[in-house]
Symmetry: C2
Subunit: 176 residues, 2 copies
């Protein structure tokens, strides 16, 4: 059940971190940090605080965020160790139902990408599908590292946006 | 089994994050970020990179690190949801064997501390014992927020140091 922003603002930090701690995959520090900035005027202010925190990190910190993400259709999916959010997102994009040729391509391209950049390919799977993801992965392997770091972080923000939408109402209900 | 620094430097980021991701409690981003700074000359250089990353965070980020820590003798200990590292450290300081009077004091003081500062009391339990921890908690409740934020982060670094010592050899073995 999604909560309104007043309810969000009233949460003790422990509940806030428990509920929102994975809006940036495996980086509860981001959520835990922005609790300091409450109260939030609305959904956009909460999201903005998260984005600002990420933007203020050094480049190594942005790479750190990317490295906390699992591979798409990778070993965490195979072994069932994805976070719940990531599992649902990957399944929604068909990552759990690849043909063996698609799975081979994904494995090879993920490995190429990681060898080139030192962080994983991150894409907002819920805004895509498997054909598009495979095509993007092949293309993005050709980019420069700084371009991909920035691109990956943009994808992190899209993922965060959709995860937040599942937790917080974008407009507070009228209070009479 | 502890590894030498050459072995650490040769780790792919995924293994590095898996092995060292909890040297700062529930903040794998810190470890994932410093992978960018490898190769590390020695243990001290690895530890220094982690400390430098923490020091460069904004104050909200430092509070975020503290908020990722469990209470001492708190509900995560009761419910068995502590990380392995934290469970061992808390048990070593006797946090799992408090008298009912001690447990009541701890619960009350933890609540006072969190209400005052908006983050939990963090102390390097392995460098202390339960009498000392209770005394420190009572005293630190009286500090200013900025003092406690800095103090908590110093304790985070002590905890990190001991966790690293359990994973990495401090001197590389001679290679003939």
């Amino acid at each position: 059940m999604r909560m309104d922003i007043a309810t969000v603002n009233a949460l003790p930090y422990e509940d806030f971190v428990n509920i929102f701690g994975n809006v940036v995959e495996k980086c509860p520090i981001v959520t835990a940090a922005v609790w300091s900035a409450r109260p939030f005027l609305n959904f956009a202010a909460l999201e903005g605080a998260i984005r600002d925190f990420i933007d203020a990190l050094p480049e190594s910190g942005k790479e750190g965020i990317l490295r906390c993400h699992p591979d798409l259709a990778g070993r965490d999916l195979q072994s069932g160790t994805l976070t719940q959010e990531s599992r649902e997102e990957q399944a929604g994009a068909g990552m759990d139902a690849l043909s063996s040729a698609e799975a081979s391509s994904m494995t090879r391209l993920n490995a190429d990408y990681k060898a080139r950049f030192g962080f994983p390919f991150v894409v907002c799977a819920r805004m895509s599908d498997k054909a598009n993801i495979l095509r993007q992965l092949a293309e993005r392997c050709k980019n420069e590292r700084a371009v991909e770091r920035a691109r990956g972080i943009e994808e992190v923000k899209k993922i965060c946006h959709l995860r937040l939408l599942g937790l917080v109402l974008t407009d507070a209900p009228n209070k009479l």
